[in-house]
């Protein structure tokens, strides 16, 4: 036996802290088009490599290349670009609204807009998303009224959720958007349950579950993996790896080892890793995974490699824990700029059209905001009646709550 030697605790550290000059040249980024595209009925064990690589479609020259390319027409791509611009315009205005005191809190999706926007286009009416707080792109790429999102953010009299929820915790059954929880990861297994229900009923709807890199550490992530694999649920399990979980880098959730996608392999779940800032690649894997689910082939795990360009939320200041320049140095670039370059390269878009599209979208957002403000803002009201505070706790108000409501005099 070897001699006893003192142990020590390893605590992972990100490569760069404030003051450092970020340099990601050692992060392996496979060439666009270089990752193979298997049939949807492939077995997990035959595509282990896809969990350790990055599926990419757009190359540096703005061309779509390789087996995952060629799924979307120029018009569809233009719509995608508009979707992302809409999210960005919406986020920027709501950030400002929070600073102006119209509401208490906001969370933007800056830098990762491609993921929700592209995924939304692979879904069908009746499918259900179980999102986190950074998938506003799912709603903003659908016909959900933007003004209702703002009403919710302002907790005003027209808020569909009656002022009960923290801003951005939207809910819309009709638009396939499950009520967001403030408690991380709980939705991941709920989505699996919803998908199981569709299978139990012999329906054809599928579910998607969403989670952040940091939140994969939560135990409900495991519950979702176990149930999805055991019952081969028609669900797409999406991990948005934007490198950060508030102030902790992704290494705290995975110890610098393996990839998040690789977590699926131990469950026999086909697992893909994709460039999350590449709209075309995200759409392609979303299509592949939703096709699998619809065909009864079971779950897929997808890790989107992206970067949280903004602060975690309006309560956060990232300059305390990471260099300001990280996003610029980030090797996968800006999803909006990349898709714009692609369209321009194809001759389907121009700088002028881009400016014009942005103006139209900003006007759309501004107009929605004018409408929303009419319904009130958080601190100035009006709000839903205080009576609504006691409603919907149960379907019918039980006696003890009736008494409490009476005591409150509402």
């Amino acid at each position: 036996m070897s001699e006893p030697k003192p142990l020590s605790l390893y605590v992972p550290e990100p490569e760069f802290r404030p003051g450092d000059k970020p340099d990601f040249s050692n992060v392996p980024i496979p060439k666009a088009g270089s990752v193979r595209k298997p049939e949807i009925d492939v077995e997990a064990q035959d595509i282990h490599d896809l969990a350790y690589s990055i599926i990419r479609v757009m190359n540096h020259d703005g061309e779509a290349v390789g087996p995952w390319a060629g799924l979307l027409s120029d018009d569809e791509v233009k719509r995608g670009l508009e979707d992302m611009l809409r999210v960005r315009a919406f986020d920027s205005r709501m950030l400002k609204a929070q600073r102006q005191g119209k509401t208490s809190f906001y969370m933007q999706a800056l830098g990762e807009e491609a993921i929700a926007c592209a995924f939304a286009r692979a879904l069908r009416p009746g499918d259900m998303n179980f999102p986190t707080y950074r998938q506003q792109g799912l709603l903003l790429s659908s016909d959900y009224p933007m003004v209702d999102m703002m009403n919710q953010i302002y907790s005003n009299a027209a808020d569909p959720l009656k002022g009960r929820q923290l801003p951005i915790m939207y809910s819309s059954k009709q638009h396939g958007f499950f009520t967001i929880s403030g408690n991380l990861a709980t939705q991941f297994i709920q989505g699996v349950g919803w998908a199981m229900a569709s299978a139990i009923k012999g329906d054809d709807k599928i579910a998607t579950s969403w989670i952040g890199d940091g939140s994969t550490a939560e135990s409900d992530f495991h519950a979702a993996m176990v149930f999805a694999s055991t019952y081969r649920a028609p669900v797409v399990l999406n991990i948005v790896n934007n490198q950060w979980a508030i102030s902790t880098f992704q290494g705290i959730a995975r110890g610098k080892a393996a990839t998040f996608a690789a977590r699926g392999l131990g469950f026999g779940i086909p697992s893909l890793r994709v460039d999350g800032n590449d709209y075309l690649a995200v759409y392609a894997v979303a299509k592949w995974a939703t096709d699998r689910a619809r065909a009864g082939l079971g779950p897929t795990l997808i890790e989107y490699v992206t970067y949280r360009a903004g602060a975690h939320s309006t309560s956060d200041d990232p300059s305390a824990y990471r260099p300001k320049e990280e996003f610029d140095a980030w090797p996968l670039g800006d999803p909006v700029k990349r898709l714009k370059d692609y369209l321009i390269k194809r001759g389907a878009w121009s700088e002028a059209l881009h400016v014009q599209a942005n103006e139209i979208l900003e006007a759309e957002v501004a107009e929605a905001q004018r409408q929303a403000v009419k319904n009130g803002t958080l601190h100035d009201g009006p709000h839903s009646s205080a009576r609504t505070m006691f409603e919907d706790v149960y379907k019918d108000m039980p006696e003890h709550l009736v008494r409490q409501r009476q005591e409150a005099g509402v």
């Binding site: 259900m128 179980f130 569909p160 959720l161 009656k162 009960r164 929820q165 915790m169 809910s171 819309s172 059954k173 499950f178 009520t179 929880s181 408690n183 709980t186 297994i189 709920q190 989505g191 699996v192 349950g193 919803w194 998908a195 199981m196 229900a197 569709s198 299978a199 139990i200 009923k201 579910a207 135990s219 409900d220 495991h222 519950a223 979702a224 176990v226 149930f227 055991t230 919907d392 706790v393 149960y394 379907k395 039980p398 006696e399 003890h400």
Partner: protein, 338 residues
């Protein structure tokens, strides 16, 4: 009318509910092929197929979390947690999720579902097969909590719970599965086949949630109890000869405030009995309800007889269990008080 044990009655409730409504599904650890460690789901997989009654992985958060998703879809899941002691890993999904889906979505999504679990001690189960967690459920707004005390109620309440549009925690006192138990562990157990409340209709019926039952009318003191403690209270009343009015709450939440208040106002005295640990147990809430609603009618301080504030011990099960001697002592004390 058939005679059923509580296990058979519970099984019959699920059977009826599954027969009437395709959306009712049943799952949990060992509940599928085998039919559950207490056999409550025996035969359901055979009758309704593996898509409607199936085994689950051993993950209570997953059981409740997936049930939430199913309920949001439109199903009515009725899941089993193998012992109430093992519901804690699911407490986040229960207290932060199931309980609030309706509220936070303003009614857009709802999660009708039942979480069944055997509860309580008396079977030498030690600290992890004996607990009674009803108080922590009662503290969570948005869920209902039910504790039946006999086969007839168990079936009627379980069907009502499955048909209810809110999430229901359904706690089955496992010491009552095979017969009423009054705490006299050294005497032979009466089987349900010899008890009136073991008479259970084969077909569909409900016992409404939120309504208590008066098991024994009485004039001198009100006893508030549920589950196993109903029989302990009956024994204590018989043995002390005190004319107690014994109320079986049946539903912990929502609570039948009117029945409780009317009885305590009538008797002016009250003893509260439960098996769970004392501090912040459901007895504390009952105390408060009596204080708030009946203070001017009280002739003596209300007394709680409960499990002690310790884990449930194995060897000292009968010292721990609040049996008829302890309840009888409380009855006498509350009667002696000025």
């Amino acid at each position: 009318m058939a005679r059923m044990t509580m296990i058979q009655a519970i099984r019959s409730a699920m059977d009826n509910a599954m027969e009437r409504d395709d959306n009712v599904v049943v799952f949990g650890e060992d509940v599928g092929y085998f039919g559950g460690v207490f056999r409550c789901t025996e035969g359901l997989q055979k009758k309704y197929g593996k898509q409607r009654c199936f085994d689950s992985p051993i993950n209570e958060s997953g059981i409740v979390g997936s049930a939430i998703g199913m309920a949001a879809y439109g199903l009515r899941p009725c899941v089993e947690i193998q012992f109430a002691d093992y519901v804690m890993p699911a407490f986040d999904q229960i207290s932060q999720e199931a309980s609030r889906i309706r509220y936070r979505s303003a009614g857009d999504f709802t999660t009708p579902m039942v979480v069944r679990m055997p509860t309580g001690g008396g079977i030498f189960g030690g600290q992890t097969h004996s607990q009674s967690p009803e108080a922590i459920f009662a503290h969570v707004s948005g869920i209902k909590t039910v504790v039946p005390s006999n086969p007839y109620d168990a079936k009627g309440l379980l069907i009502a719970s499955i048909e209810d549009d809110d999430p229901v925690m359904f706690l089955e006192p496992k010491r009552l599965y095979n017969g009423p138990f009054d705490g006299h562990h050294d005497r032979p157990v009466t089987p349900w086949s010899k008890h009136d409340l073991g008479e259970v209709p084969e077909g569909h019926y409900t016992v409404p949630l939120g309504k208590a039952a008066i098991r024994r009318e009485g004039a001198e003191v009100t006893v508030l109890a549920y589950g196993t403690m109903v029989y302990v209270a009956e024994a204590a009343a018989a043995e002390t000869g005190i004319d107690a009015e014994i109320i079986d709450l049946r539903t912990i939440l929502p609570l039948d405030l009117e029945t409780i208040e009317a009885s305590v106002k009538k008797t002016g005295r009250c003893v509260i009995v439960h098996e769970a640990t004392k501090t912040c147990g459901f007895g504390a809430e009952l105390m408060s309800v009596v204080m708030e609603g009946c203070f001017y009618h009280l002739e003596a301080p209300v007394i709680r007889v409960t499990g002690y504030d310790t884990p449930y011990p194995h060897a000292h099960e009968w010292e721990y269990f609040p049996g008829p001697a302890r309840v009888g002592k409380a009855l006498k004390k509350v009667m002696e008080a000025a």
